[in-house]
């Protein structure tokens, strides 16, 4: 009995859809994280450090190994903008 090639068409379609959406999802995640895989399993320490990195470099995943922080670092904390809670 010959191979039922018609059955392979939906298989190929489904594989293609999975592949295309996975490809675009990977590209989206990489572009958000500036070419790196996303961070996962973050605890409070990591979130605070990520916020500090953003204050130091201006981008979400940028890294810098300077000795001294830029002068804007001393005043660019978001806590200064926090509303008063009475």
């Amino acid at each position: 009995m010959p191979v039922p090639f018609e059955a392979l068409i939906p298989l190929g379609l489904i594989t293609g859809f999975f592949g295309v959406s996975g490809f675009f999802f990977q590209k989206l995640k990489t572009s958000i994280n500036e070419g790196q895989p996303p961070r996962f399993g973050l605890d409070r320490w990591d979130r605070v450090m990520l916020d500090r990195d953003y204050r130091l470099t201006g981008t979400q995943r940028g890294q810098a190994h300077e000795t001294a922080a830029p002068s804007a670092f001393s005043t660019n904390s978001a806590w200064n903008l926090e509303k008063e809670h009475l």
Binding site: P37, D46, R61, T67, P70, S71, E82
Partner: protein, 149 residues
Amino acid sequence: MSTFREASHITTGKFVDPTPAPAEAAHPEVGATSAPLKSAAFFIGSYCKDYNEDFMLCKDENNDPAHCLKEGRKVTRCAMDLITKLRENCEKEWEAHYKCLEKHNQEYYACRKPERTFNECVFSKLKLEKVIPGASNTPIHLRENTIYN
């Protein structure tokens, strides 16, 4: 134990800080972000051991932030000193290691090879060694055959 939350209830629109400017200029802060600090963590620990222990003991007495400002400035200065030394001597190896860490969720296990070159460079130039306190057999960073290598 103090809790922390991100600053979320932020004022919108134009904002003028009502507190007066401090009398002296702000003290210099460490300019390294999380990945370089994690990469150099053990070296900062051994190079700045005295100042770090001083600070922790001071915090143990009184957890008020205003109480330990002087010790904190000493810790900052020591870390900045080591970062300057690392930039002078081993900058390329340091960069390679922390860029590798950034690609792997800042996990040490995934970046043993750049770590080895970095540790060798630091040991030869700055005489600092990475020691894991309380390691029973061969420390993990010195083992030859690991799963992830």
